[in-house]
Amino acid sequence: MELTSSVLDIDLREVETQITRFIREYFEKTGSEGIVLGLSGGIDSCTIATLSAKAIGGRRVLGLMLPERETYREDDVKHAQTIVRKFKLKSRLCDITPVLEAFYGSIPIFEPSEKVSKGNIKARTRMIYIYYYANKSNLLVCGSSDKSETMMGYFTKWGDVAADIYPIMDLYKTQVQRLAQHMGVPEEIIMKPPSPALWPGQTAERELGIKYETLDLILYGLEHFMTGKEIAEQLIVEEELVNEIKLKWLSAEHKRRMLLTTKLAYRTVGADFRLKRG
């Protein structure tokens, strides 16, 4: 297989149709009143918002903007509001800073310099807000995780990844960028460096240590059972880099496949119960 950017080409119209059908079908099947999503102003959540609006109508989609003081960027809120206006969504803005500060003040072992542990509180707090709205108004939670971040384990367990459906989880980040453009997401949102907004100045590419253009091709190669050597040779990168990414992908499976127990009985939750989704 030749590993060039064209392997990531997708039929955008067809993908849009399949994703909106998936959202609509699940929305109808579950008898929900609408969809709620965390609308950060980043490319993934803005794309999900547009797809949801296309699937069930903007007035049934609630975009929750959940900024907090440390990572607040005016641009992000502005971008989220642009999407709200353009696709006629409902929206709410809740400053989660007081809740975060309450956590910081009440956890006896809280250490502000441990930015990952602290940042994860932010992701999980946002999840609590989203699910509150979901429960209160019978809304379906639409997750914004893409395939690149999900394979890399680049998300907070029980945090930003918590959702009922994940419409773009089978699309790599660079494919989401193309889909976003196709869906009419403004260019400034697409071009903005992605960030989970867990601490100030954080960007995904800097933290992952690789550009998405390369990362996506490496992940595509791994998805298609190519060896580290083959991928490295084709992309002209160090084999060690490919192996590091492979290790990250494999070692993050605990974040993707939850509910692990030890088998004690006849049929076990998370192991060998295989049931259709409700």
């Binding site: 049929r267 295989r274 259709k276």
Partner: protein, 277 residues
């Protein structure tokens, strides 16, 4: 035996695990097809239960005869129609051995069943976890000529269609539950199986979304020279009724005489090579 008759491709979506709902839907469609003078109505793979039912299969599977086949047989008698549908078939001799089966019934009752021989267990498919494979191809004498049954992934293996054709099938029916990602493969293979066997091939696929799998529909009747005689919509429910005229087989058999030119000695070689793979 009729040389010409009308066939309905009943491209429906199913409610997962809800046999009563699906049976009602099958009945509605058969009654509708009868009004269009259809002689045979074909439903997708596992249309009794939906495709993705996972562990629920153990409570859904039924023997043949059983409550659901009785309902379908009565429907076929009442409407004087042939019906093909799919269901998880529980072996009469055991309590949890299940086949993925296609059932053919007619105005005079049950005609025959085919138990899927190739069970996909890769990618999103886990059929071998639940089903025992069948061991026999199916070719049944009916008022509508000799009819062969195959199921979905079987179409990737030309020997199944070939065997049923060599048993005399003029119409090969393939019931299916194929997700969209495989559409291009199926569209090619459906025509190939019809052409190489100089037979009619009726392909009926599921539509709808089950646990994230989107079934693509695109059901069709292909003639013995590969002509797509009728085709259902992609991705949504559709009923397509069209005509089969077996006279078309004769001209196909003389135009590209694949059956005349068969080389049986190769089959033994095939078997040996396959065993050594």
């Amino acid at each position: 035996m009729k040389q010409k008759f009308r066939i309905t491709l009943a491209q429906i979506s199913c409610v997962q695990g809800a046999k009563a709902v699906n049976l009602k839907r099958i009945e509605e469609v058969v009654v509708k097809a009868k009004k269009l003078s259809s002689d045979i109505v074909i439903f997708p793979e596992l249309s009794l239960t939906g495709y993705v039912v996972r562990d629920q299969i153990y409570e859904l599977a039924e023997t043949i005869p059983g409550p659901s086949t009785n309902i379908i047989e009565n429907l076929a008698r009442k409407t004087k129609t042939h019906i093909v549908f799919g269901m998880p078939e529980l072996s009469e001799k055991t309590q949890a051995t299940i086949y993925n089966s296609a059932i053919l019934t007619g105005p005079n009752g049950f005609i025959g069943r085919y138990r899927k021989m190739h069970l996909p267990t890769h990618s999103v498919f886990e059929e071998k976890r639940y089903f025992r494979p069948g061991y026999q191809v199916a070719a049944f004498n009916t008022e509508l000529g000799k009819i062969g049954l195959i199921i979905c992934y079987d179409i990737f293996f030309p020997e199944i269609s070939r065997l049923t054709r060599l048993e005399g099938s003029q119409l090969i029916i393939c019931i299916s539950a194929s997700p969209g990602i495989r559409r291009a493969f199926f569209e090619t293979l459906i025509s190939a199986r019809a052409i190489e066997n100089t037979a009619f091939l009726a392909y009926v696929n599921l539509v709808g979304i089950e646990d994230g799998l989107q079934f693509w529909g695109g059901s069709r009747l292909v003639g013995p020279q590969g002509k797509v005689i009728a085709k259902a919509k992609y991705d949504e429910e559709d009923l397509v009724t069209c005509e089969i005229d077996y006279a078309d087989i004769r001209s196909a058999e003389t135009f590209v005489p694949t059956l005349k030119d068969l080389r049986p000695e190769l089959f033994e070689e095939l078997r040996k090579s396959a065993e050594r793979l």
